[in-house]
Symmetry: C2
Subunit: 205 residues, 2 copies
Amino acid sequence: MKLYEMAKAPNPRRVRMFLAEKGLLDEVTCIEIDLAKGENLSTDFSAKNPMNKVPVLELDDGTCISETTAICRYFEEHYPDSPKLLGNDANEKAIIEQWTRWVDFYLFLPIGMGFQHTTDYFAHRMNPIKEWGESNIEQAMKFFDFLDNHLKDHDYIACGRLTAADINAFCSVDFGKVVNLRVNESHPHLKHWYERIKARPSAAV
Amino acid sequence: MKLYEMAKAPNPRRVRMFLAEKGLLDEVTCIEIDLAKGENLSTDFSAKNPMNKVPVLELDDGTCISETTAICRYFEEHYPDSPKLLGNDANEKAIIEQWTRWVDFYLFLPIGMGFQHTTDYFAHRMNPIKEWGESNIEQAMKFFDFLDNHLKDHDYIACGRLTAADINAFCSVDFGKVVNLRVNESHPHLKHWYERIKARPSAAV
């Protein structure tokens, strides 16, 4: 299987970290796509993912699967003997999916919007709206507060153990650097959790 | 189980339609939350969903699950004898999740942004940015084109049969009305699919 990705980008990192925690990283060959050079906009890549985003998983039969959580779902279902990171039963699966979506919509997406709209990184392809970018960065900061409060009474985001919810939240919190959001003493519980997750070997892949 | 929702809102509709297709609508008691009156911002409701959004599923033990797709996942996993709408195997589950996310990020979210930022509906709670709203409506229109092209060769969005991908796309396409996006002859394949899905009893619940 091939995993089209960009090593520095946050969504591919979520997939790699998920695979590392499941012991499945060796199952994929990683192929770097240079977003700055627009390699994701080529006709070849569009055929793999019409949305032109990384990561994309290409199965050996040519089937392509886009979207981070869909790729994680594929591995969770296809390798039932690997550690379950998306939940053991209906309640856990729903709660982990709820958290993944909260992280996506209230942290990851706002950070991405903040970056796109307050910097000129993609200005050749879009029209940045500074006011919109700034309001998104405020939204992401509020989610840092929310996470800090949640982690006051929880060692992990959900289910009392490491799950995909932690992986997604950790990679998203780290992604905050692009808009100068960093975990520090003002969020002590988030910081404690962040440092514990960062110490895992999977955080370095 | 209680389903906190707003009958006219598109995300609760996705859950009701999903439950209707699975024959599980009678499993929940629907409780209307009036978003225009801000009932979702109350302390009681925040305790159920700190993001203050509908729908929320409250289990009989008090556990609350937010996010449309997480609620659907709960029913898919908890009622394994009901028709499977999230896929039968790893490949199908991943492809349906991919499509659900494409619909969320490239259609549903842009329509919502377009509505929030080009009308004054939520102006008392946020600062609408017209330029941002208009660019989102353009994005949603592009996804209509994309869906029309996809449905030229497919009777359903994924897996050759009705799945949650169709339900999510159908409710999202219908939601387009709030920004004057309507399915018509300019998208003949999308129109044909839309009319077939609309004819299902589940589309009226």
